[in-house]
């Protein structure tokens, strides 16, 4: 089971992950990214590159399933305006044993951060907005998997 989904509407982590529970494996690992209240932020806006987004997320899932014995892997990413406290991304993997799912989940979210064509703009309570800068620490974490 490999699944990529881009959603304009709110995402429910448990619904996204439900299929992974039934694959016969003993391990399900997941990561959910949530909009943080970083001092005056009331929402973020996510722009993406339709077509390339899906292709790049599928490539990441293919890379993960080539590297680890996975029974399934899924990524759901929200786009558009996302309010503080709402999930932005859900990554989940299932495997027979836990090591594979735990590592593959970290791999997928780390690589997504530097390879998938999404751009985040913070909207502040005072009505202003600002593009978020990429972080050097994200590059460093993604490099661990090369």
């Amino acid at each position: 089971m490999k699944r990529v989904r881009i959603s304009n509407a709110a995402i429910q982590p448990d619904q996204e992950l439900a299929t992974l529970l039934g694959l016969g494996g003993g391990a399900l690992a997941s990561f959910t990214g949530i909009v943080r209240d970083d001092g005056g932020v009331n929402a973020i806006e996510l722009e993406h590159y339709p077509g390339m987004t899906e292709a790049s997320l599928y490539r990441l899932i293919e890379a993960a399933t080539a590297r680890w014995a996975l029974l399934g892997a899924m990524i759901t990413h929200r786009v558009g305006i996302v309010p503080v406290g709402a999930p932005v991304v859900v990554v989940g993997t299932a495997s027979l044993h836990r090591a594979e799912a735990l590592e593959a989940t970290a791999f997928l979210i780390d690589r997504l951060k530097t390879e998938a064509p999404f751009w985040k703009r913070e909207h502040y309570t005072d009505g202003t907005a600002k593009w978020v800068d990429a972080k050097a620490s994200d590059e460093a974490r993604a490099e661990r998997w090369v």
């Binding site: 722009e47 993406h48 997504l112 064509p117 985040k120």
Partner: protein, 83 residues
């Protein structure tokens, strides 16, 4: 070739996409980006520092020295910030 722009690059140029003829002497992504810079003040401002840009040819991330080959779409954008 179709050019597509995203995020701060899109805003700085004021367009989300446009068409361009690839000059014969533009072999790499970097060559073509230098040509596109000459289109307007806005293009020059958005594209002058290639180290702060990222590129994709036909939906695949590439470095600025990648060959254009037969690619049909070049995307130019700032470093990604999803997740």
């Amino acid at each position: 070739m179709k050019l597509v722009y995203f995020a701060s690059v899109r805003e700085a140029i004021g367009l989300s996409s446009e068409e361009c003829d690839v000059p014969l002497d533009a072999r790499t992504v970097g060559d073509l980006v230098a040509r596109i810079s000459a289109r307007s003040e806005e293009h020059a401002c958005a594209l002058h520092d290639q180290t702060r840009l990222r590129f994709a040819l036909d939906h695949e991330m590439v470095a600025s020295d990648a060959l254009l080959g037969a690619a049909q779409e070049l995307a130019i954008f700032p470093p990604v910030t999803g997740g």
